[in-house]
């Protein structure tokens, strides 16, 4: 079956991203396809490449990035929510005149239409938030 996932909260503050990650892994292990993971609201903060959590804690942004690499997951960060919160890929940072960017490998920034498309194209959409 084809699943998509929406994540409304950033890492650490809420369990939402942790639960979504465990759910995604279990879905893949069970042979399901994940069409897309869409990061919205503060959920865009899961895409940062600048997080340095303590060594004995899980690195949530890195976990997503690795899961994406291993399974060719489409991790989409909402552009409107990302712009509000200062989440930038190289191109967007350049366009806005910033020297730095902070989007982790495996994530891409795109529009809200990607969420609607995920709803249309997937058999199920599951929302994780707070």
């Amino acid at each position: 079956m084809k699943f998509s996932i929406q994540i409304n909260e950033g890492p650490y503050q809420h369990q939402a991203s942790d639960t979504a990650y465990q759910f995604a892994r279990a879905a893949l292990a069970a042979g399901h396809e994940i069409f897309r993971v869409f990061f919205y609201h503060d959920g865009v903060n899961n895409a940062t490449k600048l997080a340095v959590p303590p060594q004995d804690d899980r690195d949530i942004p890195k976990l997503w990035s690795e899961l994406s690499k291993e399974n060719d997951l489409d991790l989409v960060v909402c552009i409107a929510a990302a712009q509000r919160r200062g989440m930038m890929d190289v191109d967007e940072a350049k366009r806005q005149g910033f020297e730095d960017n902070n989007l982790n490998e495996g994530f891409r920034i795109s529009g809200l239409g990607q969420l609607i498309e995920a709803g249309i194209e997937s058999d199920r959409l599951v929302v994780f938030g707070a």
Partner: protein, 134 residues
């Protein structure tokens, strides 16, 4: 492409958190996809629709006028849960009057808001393909 039933479930009050504003942004973008869209306002979500919102003094943009534009986007199934309204001491008169124009009836103006009981709304929710919650 097959049309799916999308329900946007709004359960959070505006301004205190950003969920109401950003979910409205999804609704506006989603309208371009020609799906079967409905909005549900449940719990504190009913506060999103109050009329007379003035936000200058809190330094935030008043996005409540956008709800009255939803009819122009063919978003005209707006379910407000009766129990939630009553629990909060509100009536339909406290909410914005949202309308849409029915192309099939010579652009007659019709109410977009449907005041429904929790159990009626539960039936509508059970028919959806996608529930987007914020």
């Amino acid at each position: 492409m097959a049309v799916k039933k999308f329900m946007y479930v709004n359960r959070k009050a505006p301004y205190g958190t950003i969920y109401a504003l950003e979910s409205l942004e999804v609704v506006l973008i989603g309208a371009a996809f020609d799906q079967d869209v409905s909005l549900a306002f449940i719990g504190d979500g009913v506060y999103e629709l109050t009329k007379g919102q003035k936000t200058e003094a809190i330094g935030q943009k008043n996005f409540s006028p956008t709800y009255s534009a939803l009819g122009d986007y063919d978003v005209n199934k707006i379910y407000v849960e009766k129990e939630s309204l009553e629990e909060r001491g509100l009536t339909l008169d406290d909410l914005q009057h949202l309308v849409w124009e029915d192309e099939d009836e010579d652009w007659a103006e019709k109410d977009s808001i449907r005041l429904v009981s929790r159990s009626e709304l539960a039936d509508v929710m059970a028919e959806q393909d996608i529930c987007l919650s914020f």
